[in-house]
């Protein structure tokens, strides 16, 4: 059983045992379900993404299966399908994470880039209501980088790190896949339910090789992998209390059914720490502990003043869970039709950290970075189809403690840019 506390103890042990190895520790601290520090990771959907994700009160197309299933019953036509492919590049920079022997700081940058289909959905009439099926990649990153640092200070007096090679291969993907059904309870009130299968698959592979100034070297390899299955139901309601106004609310939570985490590590430490030429430490830790996801409530309001204009705003609340705080996020969007065949969308959103603000004098705190983002998209319509090109940009700043067992904090910055192409088709 690897509990969070156990992980920290393990880190401390490593710290005590050797280390200079600011670096392994570097790795260990950022070992986390990377964007587990934020709840708005990927804004999916052809139209929703342009509106900053403020879609709870709109949801009248296949992306409604994801945002608010109650809305799909208001979708026009008989059958509709949409699909989105996105390319994302993001960087996370820890300023002055390392220090050179000359005293200057050196940033540590993690880059992720990937191209993936991030949403597909189809809805159609079935009986008195509408049935839908959708697939969304709600969180995803892919890092594949090699870095070399020279002349870094170490914790051992009189010894510096001449060369530090750090190779990273990290991945994490969260998939939601499943059916939805929505029904009108009255002319202007509907309800819907989506039952997603939640599947998460990720790994972190780090390879560290340090050449010390005293001629010794340290080599460590970590392979951390995780996989979890669960269910994520989303219950939604949509109400049109007055003409041109729509209100939506949803309740959802991910319940894990199965989870497996495995850490495999190999260490060949420096000679002065007791490692003989052929001494290699090897250890495997496994855990089936299911981690807890928060309960999520979203509330949205949308105002449709004319066929050419739409305003939408959302608030989402994630409850406190395990050692993460409750988070309230907001989003807003506007859609404007330049002509019956061309629409422009713009939006903004917040993605606040679910970790507490860092306190001074304390060690091993998780990073706290609040993110703000904006979206922009343009859609071209023909009689039965639509084609959208859009972009999402977000920027976050905050603090982190990438070096364990030290109270030093670093300024951290996140920059993320996504460009996507989406298509909708009615038939």
């Amino acid at each position: 059983m690897i509990k969070k506390q156990e992980r920290r103890d393990f880190m401390k042990k490593l710290a005590g045992n050797s280390f200079i190895l600011i670096v392994i520790l570097l790795f260990l601290c950022t070992y986390s379900y990377a964007d587990e520090y934020h709840y708005v990771n990927s804004i999916v959907g052809e139209r929703a993404a342009g509106l900053g994700g403020a879609y709870t009160a709109v949801s009248d197309d296949p992306s409604g299966c994801y945002y608010n299933p109650a809305g799909i019953v208001f979708a026009p036509g008989r059958r509709l399908s949409i699909s989105v492919n996105a390319y994302n590049v993001s960087t996370k920079t820890y300023k002055d994470a390392l220090h050179k022997t000359t005293g200057e700081g050196e940033d540590w940058v993690l880059k992720s880039s990937q191209l993936l289909p991030n949403f597909f959905g189809v809805i159609q009439q079935l009986g008195p209501g509408k049935i839908g099926f959708s697939y969304a990649v709600t969180d995803s990153y892919l890092r594949d980088q090699e870095q070399v640092f020279y002349n870094i200070r170490s914790r051992i007096p009189g010894v510096s790190i001449e060369r530090y090679v750090l190779n990273i291969d990290d991945e994490d993907k969260v998939y939601n896949l499943g059916p939805s059904y929505a029904l009108k309870l009255r002319d202007n009130l509907s309800t819907g339910l989506t039952l997603y299968l939640h599947y998460r698959d990720g790994k972190i592979i780090r390879n560290h090789l340090l050449n010390l100034s005293n001629g010794e070297f340290d080599w460590e390899n970590y392979y951390l992998s995780w996989r979890e299955y669960g269910l994520r139901p989303i219950l939604g309601f949509m109400w049109e209390p007055f003409e041109k106004i729509s209100l939506g609310i949803t309740f959802s939570r991910t319940f894990l059914l199965d989870s497996k985490t495995r850490i495999q590590q190999t260490v060949r430490g420096p000679a002065s720490y007791g490692y003989g030429v052929n001494d290699v430490d090897f250890r495997v830790l496994e855990s089936s502990e299911k981690h807890k996801y928060p309960y999520v409530t979203t509330f949205g309001i949308a105002y449709f003043p004319s066929r050419f204009l739409l305003f939408s705003a959302d608030l989402s609340y994630n409850t406190r869970v395990e050692d993460r705080k409750a988070v309230l996020n907001g989003a807003m969007g506007i859609e404007y039709y330049l002509s019956p065949s061309l629409a422009l969308r713009a939006g903004g959103f917040t993605d606040m950290a679910n970790t507490p603000r860092l306190k001074s004098g304390v060690t091993n705190q998780p990073e706290h970075i609040d993110i703000y983002g904006g979206t922009l998209s343009i859609t071209y319509f023909t009689k039965n189809s639509s084609l959208t090109i859009g972009t999402v940009y977000s920027y976050g700043s905050g603090k982190a403690q990438v070096i364990p067992e030290t109270p030093a904090q670093q300024d951290a910055r996140i920059n993320s840019l996504t460009v996507y192409i989406g298509a909708g088709y009615s038939y």
Binding site: S83, E243, R307, P340, S341, T382
Partner: protein
Amino acid sequence: MGLKRFILISLILFLFTNITYSSDFRRRASQASEEEIYKTEDDIKAEVIFGRSLSARILGRYPLYKDKDITEYINLIGKGLAQYAGRPEIEFHFGILDTDTINAFSAPGGYIFITKGCLKEIEDEAELAGVLAHEIAHIVERHIVKEINLRAPDESPLTGFASLIAGATGTAEAVFTTFVDKAYEILFERGYKIEDEFSSDRFSVNLLKLSGYDPYGLIRFLKRLNEKGKVKEIKGTHPGIVERIQGLKRFMEENQISGDDKKTRKERFYEKTGRK
């Protein structure tokens, strides 16, 4: 203070002043409204192409009775009636089917057929006009078009691309043939929706009045069929004849429409159909 109150009042007034509340407010500028769909020139062309295929199928079952004079006669009446209906863009065609069953059919795009058996039961021109008007109604009110959601395929290259990305399957052709099958099923097996039938009966009365025929044409014909016990032959695809007669009677009373014996043109009818 005055300003704030003004804004508040305007906001409230503005939110609540809409007299009609239609859920149509969700419709975006790119989406056609209920009233606009099926009406583009392409949609109408699609309707005519579809109607021809359906007609060819009807004629495959019951060939035409190729008497040029009588056919011309019913076309004169039918096209005259059609002028008073609301679809000037449709070129109507009226044909006689060579069968003794008593029935009349209409296919989208303006193709209307009446059987020889039906003509035999008709006694005057107003009755014939009534039957034709009922069929014209199905076309004007787009009953089949709406039931099978018949629209022109969207063939812009962008749509092909979008359908590729969005994963839609099937080509327009496969869909087209399925539609023809469905429409055939409506005509020969299932029948129109009951409301559509009653609606077409009412349309027939209105059209007869507008075009100067005796508005009692259709009801007189139905009554005679009922009395003669010829009901069984048409029941399959039409609602009960008794309900139709009662519905028509009620409609004419509510609308204060009275018969006009002078406008039946019985003599011309006998002359043109070769009856003595």
